[in-house]
């Protein structure tokens, strides 16, 4: 058996979480690198990578409903907002101008944010049982616009546009994660928190995907009528997909702005939803690692692009002239997304599969 890693002798092996030795090693290395990172890179990068971890949690959530269950939702920003404001209200300062109950324990506000968002997801799910494809996408987009109107108006909760409020300040079992101390800086603590949560979220999603529920999702995605004929309860599983996805979105929303320490209601717009869809598509729909990769790429891409003009000294950095470095950056962001999807429609995960197959067959690769 040892030398035949792809030979399975039971169904259980086929479904194992980490089915090959190389996967085990790779995951081990990644985990170790992730844990070691706070002592390797500067705080400002760490903050960005922590943000990418949170984005990855949100992207995994969207991937459950879009990548696995095939229901494309442009309403992710709406659920992120619900999570963000639930958490901010629970953990907020009771004396501040905006609603707050002062419960900063992350073990309380994080699940609460997820649950409230999940309830909203379950309420929205009936739409998905009635609508399909682009209709569903645009209707969920409608949620973002209507939700946006509500949070803009509800300024006792959100502070109002342009004024905003503070996100929750996390404490874990009484240990303050929001300020630096002798051992760890604030950014190091927050990064570690985000990283651990990402690992937990990814593990849970992976387990869900290889369970009976996950297989039902895949069946619905591939052909919902066929799935229905085989006895998959469409309404039920679509509801579960929206609920779980929104739970992830709620948790991600709660954590999304903890690093910055401020957020305002105009952040939850069409662009945010689209970014999450882009994460899923660029990473590779229907895979957990793809969603994570996509989230990291989309979050880090602007940062990488900002380095580009320094290699092109002939581009003006005066914003009054055209073309200038800033226009180039923004155009590049759009163009890179286009180029990437044209040349690698299966996403980052597709590149990985191709690389793997190349080396697997080496030296007979073609």
């Amino acid at each position: 058996m040892r030398n035949r890693p792809l030979l399975r002798t039971s169904y259980k092996q086929e479904l194992a979480l980490l089915d090959t030795t190389s996967k085990k090693v790779a995951v081990g290395i990644l985990l170790a690198a992730g844990v070691a990172l706070p002592w390797l890179v500067e705080d400002q990068l760490l903050q960005l990578i922590g943000l990418a971890c949170v984005a990855a949690i949100g992207a995994i959530g969207l991937n459950i409903v879009t990548g696995y269950a095939g229901q494309v939702s442009l309403g992710h920003a709406f659920f992120l907002a619900i999570g963000a404001y639930t958490a901010a209200a629970i953990a907020g300062d009771p004396d501040a101008r905006t609603t707050g109950y002062g419960i900063t324990e992350i073990l309380i506000w994080l699940p609460a944010a997820g649950l409230v968002a999940a309830v909203a997801g379950v309420l929205v799910a009936p739409l998905a049982t009635r609508l399909r494809g682009l209709y569903l996408a645009i209707v969920t987009l409608g949620l973002v616009f209507i939700g946006g109107h509500v949070i803009n108006e509800w300024s006792s909760l959100t502070g109002g546009p342009g004024i905003g409020r503070q996100p929750p300040a996390p404490t874990l079992l009484g240990y303050d994660l929001n300020t630096g101390d002798a051992f760890l800086t604030r950014d190091q603590k927050l990064y570690l928190l985000m990283f651990v949560l990402l690992v937990l979220a990814a593990l849970a999603a992976r387990n869900l995907a290889r369970s009976r529920v996950g297989r039902a999702f895949t069946a619905i995605r591939d052909r919902d009528i066929a799935a229905g004929v085989m006895g998959v309860n469409l309404a039920r599983y679509k509801t579960i997909a929206f609920g779980v996805s929104s739970f992830y979105a709620g948790c991600a929303g709660a954590l999304l702005y903890v690093g910055i320490g401020y957020f305002d209601p105009t952040s939850f717009n069409l662009l945010l939803s689209v970014q999450y869809i882009a994460m899923v598509l660029i990473g590779g729909a229907g895979t957990i690692s793809g969603a994570v990769l996509g989230a990291f790429l989309i979050t880090l891409l602007p940062r990488l692009i900002r380095e580009v003009p320094s290699f092109l000294p002939f581009i003006s950095n005066s914003p009054a002239e055209s073309p200038n470095a800033y226009q180039l950056e923004t155009v590049l962001y759009g163009v890179l997304i286009i180029v990437f999807l044209i040349f690698e429609p299966r996403g980052l995960f597709g590149i990985w599969i191709r690389l793997r197959n190349y080396w697997k067959a080496w030296p007979f690769s073609y």
Partner: protein, 432 residues
């Protein structure tokens, strides 16, 4: 699983031993010259001709491409670059040139992007020559406070009166609107005042000022919120036409302002509009709304416009050259730079160009020399919220061709009775 754990442990240990890579902060104290820590080098600035001088780096984070304010932000940024170039040409600050070119970043008016750009330049700049936008600046304020970073804003919100790290200039929106209502009260005695404004600290702040003034002067106040986008002004126009206020205080973008004024006039409205400066653009005079604007529109302003005759304005026009299209974005960028210059000079005189030193110097300023662009008494940061500047002006921007060279001053710098007595104890928009 066990093997996996061992592996992880080994990796962590290896990596831990390499942990020296993370750089720490270092405070420099040269043998001569002022103390310094971050954002100051002994080496000359990258593009400087003065090879014998050191370099002070200032960052600029602005809305340069697709954000809603890039039309204003681009000239602001340009003027600031020209401002600091002029400072360098005049001898720099205590043996240092100022570099406001190397760290210029685009925030796309997104708090997240703003924060990223700030984090990126944080370790390399002494202070921010510009941090554009209120939600964006709010996203970096906690960190600025923790690290003693000073910034010149590009907004007039009253919340900045309470922030030591922000060097605001001129009257804030709230005071400006109070003065506008006072001016109207003096000239044509309105009975009803309506504030038509976009949401957020820009619009809300001005609306709150109008509300305070209206209540104080015994007028009826009506609050109308609108959104940006010329197709979204129907609600505002209807509110104006049906409730017929005598005075409308307008805080929107220029295209929306034209849609509102033009739409209301076309449906028979004859009251007056007073807009804040971001609501105006000279291009509006070529639109179909021009007759309405000419008949009904006045503009309040925190400082004098492009073509004014003061040493500061002249210096600005010279520094920018004749190739630029006149625009009050330039004026604003130029004015906002004076307090930073004053703070740097003060800190240098105190022999402490560290961030903490600069912040301390800024806090101790009781007046700033704006070279006549703002009257004496402006720039009292030592006075905190009580020291805010309370004078503004009223222009009629619609006379003649409407260019900034051809704009009529209705009332020079004044403080209305409401603004004079008003005690700013919290950001105005909280009163709305």
């Amino acid at each position: 699983m066990k093997r996996l754990g061992m592996f992880a442990l080994a990796a962590v240990l290896t990596v831990g031993s390499l942990a020296g890579c993370r750089g720490g902060d270092s405070t420099e104290q040269g043998s001569s010259g002022p103390k310094s820590d971050i954002g100051i080098t002994k080496e000359p600035c990258p593009k400087s001709e003065h090879k014998d001088r050191g370099c002070i780096y200032l960052g600029i984070i602005s809305d340069l491409t697709v954000g809603p304010f890039h039309v204003l932000a681009v000239p602001i940024t340009d003027a600031q670059k020209a401002f600091w170039k002029r400072v360098n040409a005049q001898g720099g600050i205590g043996g240092y040139d100022i570099d406001a070119e190397t760290y210029v970043r685009d925030n796309k008016y997104n708090p997240q992007t703003h924060n990223e750009a700030y984090q990126e330049m944080k370790g390399k700049v002494l202070a921010l020559a510009q941090s554009l936008g209120s939600p964006t600046t709010a996203a970096i304020l906690p960190d600025m406070k923790a690290n003693n970073v000073l910034a010149a804003p590009a907004a007039w919100t009253s919340a900045y009166a309470f922030e030591d790290n922000i060097l605001e200039s001129g009257a804030n929106y709230c005071i400006e609107s109070m003065n506008a209502v006072d001016y109207a009260n003096e000239t044509f005695k309105p009975k009803t005042v309506m504030a038509v404004h976009v949401a957020g600290d820009y619009g809300d702040d001005a609306a709150a000022g109008a509300k305070i003034a209206a209540e104080k002067l015994g007028m009826t106040f009506i609050n109308v919120k609108t959104d940006s986008g010329t197709d979204k002004q129907a609600g505002a126009v209807t509110a104006i036409v049906t409730q017929k206020p005598d005075l409308v205080i307008l805080t929107t973008g220029p295209a929306d302002a034209a849609a509102i004024v033009g739409g209301a006039a076309q449906r028979g409205f004859t009251g007056k509009f007073i807009g804040t400066s971001p609501s105006w653009n000279q291009g509006l005079l070529a639109t179909a709304a021009a007759p309405a604007l000419k008949a009904l529109y006045l503009q309040s302003s925190p400082w004098k416009s492009w073509a004014s005759d003061t040493p500061g304005h002249k210096a600005m026009r010279e520094a920018l050259g004749s190739s630029v299209t006149p625009n009050d974005g330039y004026t604003s960028g130029w004015v906002w730079s004076y307090p930073m210059l004053a703070a740097l000079k003060k800190a240098q005189a105190d022999g402490d160009l560290t961030r903490a030193g600069l912040l301390k110097a800024a806090k101790s300023l009781t007046k700033v020399d704006y070279e006549g662009m703002l009257p004496d008494g402006a720039g009292n940061y030592a006075g905190g919220a009580d020291g805010i500047f309370r004078q503004s002006l009223i222009y009629n921007p619609t006379v003649g061709s409407g260019g900034p060279n051809d704009i009529k001053l209705m009332k020079d710098y004044f403080t209305g009775p409401v603004a004079k007595d008003y005690k700013l104890d919290k950001p105005c928009y909280e009163n709305l």
